[in-house]
Amino acid sequence: MTQTLTRRQAFEARQRRRATTLAVGSTVAVLVALVVLIPLAPGWEAVKRSFFNAEVFAKTFPGLLNAFVLDVAIFAWCAPLIALLGLAVALMRDIRNPALYPLRLLAILYTDVFRGLPVILVIYLIGFGIPGLGLPRPWNSPYIWGSLALILVYAAYVAEVIRSGIESVHQSQRSAALSLGLSPSDAMRFVVLPQAIRRVVPANMNLFIALQKDVALLSFIGPVEIFRQAGVYKSLMANFTPYVGAAIIFLCLTIPATRYADYLMNRQRKARS
């Protein structure tokens, strides 16, 4: 297709070419500087040997990948429970019925407490504390209590996100639903909540990406997931390369997920403007 450009289009095309050239040029310059300069550092040989050892990497990578399956499994059973609990807590905070006021209070207390604590502290307290009660198998499993700790913490965040979504749906939608004779709970369930949840999908995705990373914290109370497995390899081989392998495995999952969440977020922003 031979189309003559308007003056404006020609100008913009020139600008774009210029910007691309500059961006590529500066990126290459920075990369070259890194590649040339880092090996000049006095400790580089030692770091290379203990962190970027190809032989160790090849030997440990399959084992790490195997251990990562456990991370994914823990994530897979925590995620739906977090979504359910988060939704329940978000709805509890909207309760108007005075007889159910304690539930509302509980929901507020719950979100405040679990958003106010470091995840690792909750994992320690619940993961060591509850099995310490001397429960019989399988109820002393760190899998159960570690997962519970993650669920409690993350559901508190998800609840807050969903609540912000509920508040972002304009009051007129609720008015319209009520004016048709729908009950307040039907107005919430069929009109407000579906819109609210759609709006907070990107924010929740970011939370679930953080959760996937925090699964590694369970290694502190027992489960041999990828981070702990990397630690085992490190001790066996006196080499830190397994940690780099674990990092690569995490990134392979989290970077595409983060990009996708950003894409959704941008698309929503555009749709709304």
Binding site: Q173, S175, L180, G181, L182, S183, F190, Q195
Partner: protein, 241 residues
Amino acid sequence: MVLRLENIQKSFGSNVVLDGIDLEIGKGQMVCLIGASGSGKSTLLRCMNLLEPIDDGAIWLDGQDISEPGLDPQPVRRRIGMVFQSFNLFPHMTAAENVMLAPRRTKGLSRDALNAPVSALFERFGLADRMDHYPDQLSGGQQQRVAIVRALAMEPEVMLFDEITSALDPELVGEVLDVLRALRMQGMTMVLATHEMGFARELADLVCFLDNGRILEAGTPSQIFETPEQDRTKSFLSRVL
């Protein structure tokens, strides 16, 4: 008498918005509320639909006091439909789903059972080919007509319209007014807050001029538009006509 308002009082904080409204609406009548912005038209309609509780006075629907504090508002709202200036269609549902939601939930009717009557409604208002469209795929006029159909699907005895043409492009106002005209001919009892003076003049049984939360003057269209008695009515009309 379908609806009777008796000394309605309503304040938001210290802002007195309705200050003793008395109004009787007979079966099949069309009553138009006119008045400056902020005079309380929307608030009055929202009170009649029990979306806002009134502070004092009473609202009688067929001999029942529906303003009784603590009364369950849902059965009343099913008998009084309301259409809003900003359409307020549910954006995540198709036009047909918008219309079916309330009958499904409140009357326990299935989608299958509703299909025929709802299709007939869409047909009647020239929307047959728009049933499966989402609100953002419809023009403003079409959205507002769907909103009217949605309220009608509950088979209300009274319809309240709150400036339903104010958010529309001028060329789309006509198609929505045509719907109101058709409802009028059919004998629907209607209360409209409106800035469409020509329309009120043509079709209203009663025109009420609201000013600072009071009905300053009420009468037939010719009384209000041709021989208004109050100075404030005159000056309002001279500004809008």
